[in-house]
Symmetry: C2
Subunit: 397 residues, 2 copies
């Protein structure tokens, strides 16, 4: 369904151009997602030791237990900005409270953009003056555009499910593009729902879903200082998700996962300069830790990502990446498939027709299934190719 | 001094074009380095779990304790080639013994090139027929060229020192280019010396030196199935290096390290598509493990390597890489210098003039000193930039 963060009942969004970017840009750069009534919130944040001011302030404010909305900006990460950065992130929450009600602690804040540059607070303050009139229940797309950095298109998803005759909606928006890696990267994501949530359960569901979606994508192996995934639930649907109600919890989790999986796939597909989505389906590992190590080494191999850009169904580089991954396996037991084609059998060239394998490598999306032949553990990661365009985009900020 | 692997007395080298590459190439691809008399050998090999046939055979033959030389080829890695690959690598040693004397076990073998393709043994056999007449004490440069793959120039180094009025020479050749990473990558290196060595001591010295040189360079974070560094000592100088003679051992180790350090730097400088050598000098870590993690995260950050290609003295990406490195540190204690310019102080923008920092980033070689401010542990790594040319070169093999 349409609607992104406004799909769920009682959520509004809006944005405008505050001029936060140092270089001139036509794009909006300040956005807000607001619940008409107080809501419950959960958050998952970057595991980077260096955490941006908005991450630290959002974590702190999550403790308040009562929420109204999220303020987001692109063009400045407010990271490595010291005490002033913390004060600026707090002021952004305070400005939101002044304009939209509640107190500073009721707001969360997300920033993305250049690191180490002080937030231009005068522009942010002026921006807030104009935000209230931009707010609407159709502002979702505008807000999704406002948080874009090098993304080429906005990313939104929404799904619904019925429980006891009532419809529950879950929608979200995300931005990604550069620095995407397991454990997230410069990615921001806000998910809204009109389900009624318990704070602790919401946190647990969000953490589980993020582990299976946003933590399984990689573009360049980097992880940013600002990564944030937030979930807001305002209860407007009249459906309460209780921990002891397995049916409701299961249905809700499934829909949150669909929203997150869709957004995660959009992020990989829109990675800087990427032209392909490559799914790594790792099987037959002797432990989950080994499966993860092996899958991530393949997904992050710069050499392999270049080969994918060249539509080269290279398997030597796959075997090589498995070999240095640190995973335990028998090299002579490895099987590798490009989609269903058996390219490597027992560690050596397999029976697949090279021309057909090449055709798979030419597709925009394909799956590389790797069977280590040593156990039952599995792991999946979404990766992408690495193109000259990626390098060009990252020569400087 | 000149001479590469032929600098030391009693070493010969030679090469020819056997036609091992599947695609037509004008370049020699089969080489031999030979000692006129039996010699002692030591070897350090890839830590990749998938090890090419020549690595496995060389490891086995090292056990013989008596050596004559090394056979090397480019154009085919003889990796992921199963039992046939092992038989082929052994046959290469046997062919060398037939042509140059001794037995199969006296020879070591190194291969580099495409993975998973059977070695074209008919061409190799024909090649061996022509090798003896190519052998000379001036064949070092030819051999250094023959082992090149995507290297743009051959890599040789040689130094000497005097002990008790006698001169000892140490020389070597290497190839690198792609897949260079700590713990080596598709790099081959042969070092020869006319010192008389004990096998156990030679192994210890080589392992120590490799740890401080070839294991401290990175181009693309990959590690190959074929990496090999060999040291041969034939005693022709009449100088014996004994473990209990600290002066001799120290002097010899220092010269081996100079040869390896020079070759390692050449490898980084000639990495595929690279235009810059960037030295990461990590200080102030609370442990060696943390220093290594932090330095390697910075040296391997794809985003940073792109910034260096763009001559952008980016520090946000440095702090970000430190943050996800897993090293323990206080973000507000980080100092970063581009050469001597103080770019980051206490985790925030420092006093350096941005224009001057930019000039450093425009140099072909510069040092980024990072002080974590938390202890005495240090680590150095040589890295390089990542250019569009690198991607172009690796679109396919």
């Amino acid at each position: 369904m349409d609607g992104g963060v406004c799909a769920a009942a009682g959520f509004l969004a809006g944005s405008l151009k505050a001029g936060i970017k140092r270089v001139f840009s036509e794009k909006d750069d300040l956005a807000v997602v607001l619940s008409e009534s107080p809501c419950v919130a959960a958050g998952v944040f970057t595991q980077n030791r260096v955490q941006a001011a908005p991450v630290l302030i959002s974590k702190k404010n999550l403790g308040s237990g009562c929420h109204r909305g999220v303020v987001l900006n692109s063009g400045n990460a407010n990271a490595c900005t010291g005490e002033q950065g913390l004060a600026d992130a707090e002021e952004m929450c305070r400005l939101a409270a002044e304009k939209f009600g509640g107190s500073q602690e009721n707001y969360l804040v997300c920033s993305t953009g250049r690191i180490g540059v002080p937030m231009p607070m005068e522009k942010v303050r002026d921006g807030f003056d104009g935000l209230p009139e931009r707010l609407s229940c159709e502002g979702n797309r505008e807000a999704a555009v406002a948080i874009m950095t090098s993304d080429t298109h906005p990313k939104e998803a929404a799904f619904s499910f019925s429980l006891g005759g009532k419809q529950v909606k879950v929608g979200g928006m995300a931005k990604g593009a550069g620095m995407i890696n397991p454990n997230m990267a410069t990615m921001l994501c806000v998910i809204t729902t009109d389900a009624e949530l318990d704070g602790k359960l919401a946190q647990q569901i969000l953490a589980d879903v993020v582990e299976r979606t946003f933590n399984r994508i990689t573009i360049d192996g980097d992880m940013s200082t600002n990564d944030t995934v937030l979930l807001l639930g305002n209860g407007k649907s009249g459906v309460k998700i209780m921990e002891d109600d397995a049916e409701a919890t299961g249905a809700f989790t499934e829909v949150v996962e669909r929203v997150c999986a869709d957004l995660a796939r959009m992020i990989v597909g829109d990675g800087e300069g990427t032209t392909k989505i490559v799914e790594i389906d790792l099987r037959g590992a002797s432990s989950l830790a080994d499966a993860k190590k092996a899958a991530e080494a393949v997904a992050n191999s710069v050499l392999l990502k270049c080969a994918w850009a060249g539509q080269d169904p290279n398997w030597g580089r796959i075997v090589d990446a498995l070999g240095y991954s640190g995973a335990d396996f028998d090299p002579s037991a490895i099987d590798i498939f490009y989609d269903e084609l058996h390219l490597v059998k027992g560690g050596q060239l397999g029976p697949a027709d090279p021309k057909k394998v090449k055709q798979v490598a030419e597709k925009q999306e394909f799956t590389i299934t790797i069977d280590l032949g040593g156990g039952d553990a599995t792991y999946r990661v979404l990766s992408s190719d690495l193109t000259e365009e990626y390098v060009r985009l990252n020569l400087s900020e």
